[in-house]
Amino acid sequence: MQITDKDWVQLSAYLDGELSGRDLNQLRKRMLSDPQLQSALEQLKITKQILRTAPHVPAPRNFTLTPKMVGFKPKKPTYPRYRLAAVVTSFLLIGVLVLDLGRFVNIGAMAPTAPIYYREVSQESVPEAAADAVEEPSLLVAEGEVDQDQMKAELEDQPADEPAASIAVEEAIGEPVSEGMAEDELDSRTLEKDITGAENLAEEKEETFLGYQVSSTQTLETEPTTSVFDLEEEVHPPERETGVSFLRILEIVLGVGVLGFSAAAWFRRKKPS
């Protein structure tokens, strides 16, 4: 009886114990009656045994993998970045502290001058200053009380020795000064009107008067020059900061940053990710 391919498959599976059920029983029955099947099974068994004798070839070397082989880039430790950040923040903090200290020293150096300046300013009352200013015609020009061109013309008409203050007196008393008037009377009237007019004017223009400064070198021929200044800034001493300054906030922020970065660097170094 010829052995078919199916017989070979069943014999091979039988040899490996992979045949079961009805196929196994049928093959066993056939092998009992068919010596060719028995011989074929024997051949397969020997072949399998020969294959089993093949030596197990050991690995000639280790095949362990390196990071380069698998394209694996090892993670760089992160703590140097935190450490650098801590150092940079420390330097910034030191800089801000130095700046703050310098500012504190400067304020301390300015401290004695401020009260003196304040005293000087406070000695002169506002009306007196206004009265002084009224005597100066150029101030009137500056104030816009008298037109500049008109004033120049009037001054040219007047004798050179006549005091310029008479214009102010005329303006103040509201009538022209007569030529026949006695000099003493004129002086007394002028003085009275001058004072009252100046006081009134000072009351009206109290705020604005103090806003101008008349140049001491000014003459009638020259253009009256005025310089504007901020009175409040001049009179009052430097303001003391009452709340938390920007530098203080910066110092706190930087201080927290230094501590935070240092702690992060320490933890990262101890427990690398």
């Binding site: 020997i46 030596p55 280790n62």
Partner: protein, 200 residues
Amino acid sequence: MDLKDQINKSLEGDLDSFNQIVIEFQNLVYNQAYRILGEPGTAEDATQEAFISAYKKLHTYRGGSFKSWLLRIVSNACYDEFRRRKRQPVSPLFPENKQGNEVDSASWLEDPGEKPEDSLLRNELSEAIQICLDRLEFEFRTIVILVDLQGMDYASAAEVIDRPLGTVKSRLARARRNLQDCLQSFRELLPVEFRHVGEV
């Protein structure tokens, strides 16, 4: 640390844990590659490729037999190597250098893959077996090696080659018959008790 822990740690990127797996399985994997390819150098390359591939594809391992999963990877690596070898041009009868001039050197006749230590391993019977295995088709050869040399059952072999159980059975039977015929030509190398093979 057991295999499961090593796999889990390897999945987390721990290369050292995976290298422990490599050391544990490298003999098995290399032997499979060597028996499939028949050349030590090529088998080394395939083994290394298989472990690299295994590391990269470790997330695809869904439990079950890790040995089967690994042998499947090495069998695929061997198949890739086998196809690559087939594409390689045939060596000229007379060797030429890069300029195209004929080189008359005895070193050309030497087998570059054969080293003294390999010769020691390759005893005569082993060589005969390897020759007969090389004559089988790739898939038949793989099944025989898996079942008869590695001692795997049919189900595991079917899992490795990703074929149905019936295919494994039929191809194994056919491969064994071919090997039986081949080994008859090396009868003088067989042990005495095996020399009557085929004398039915």
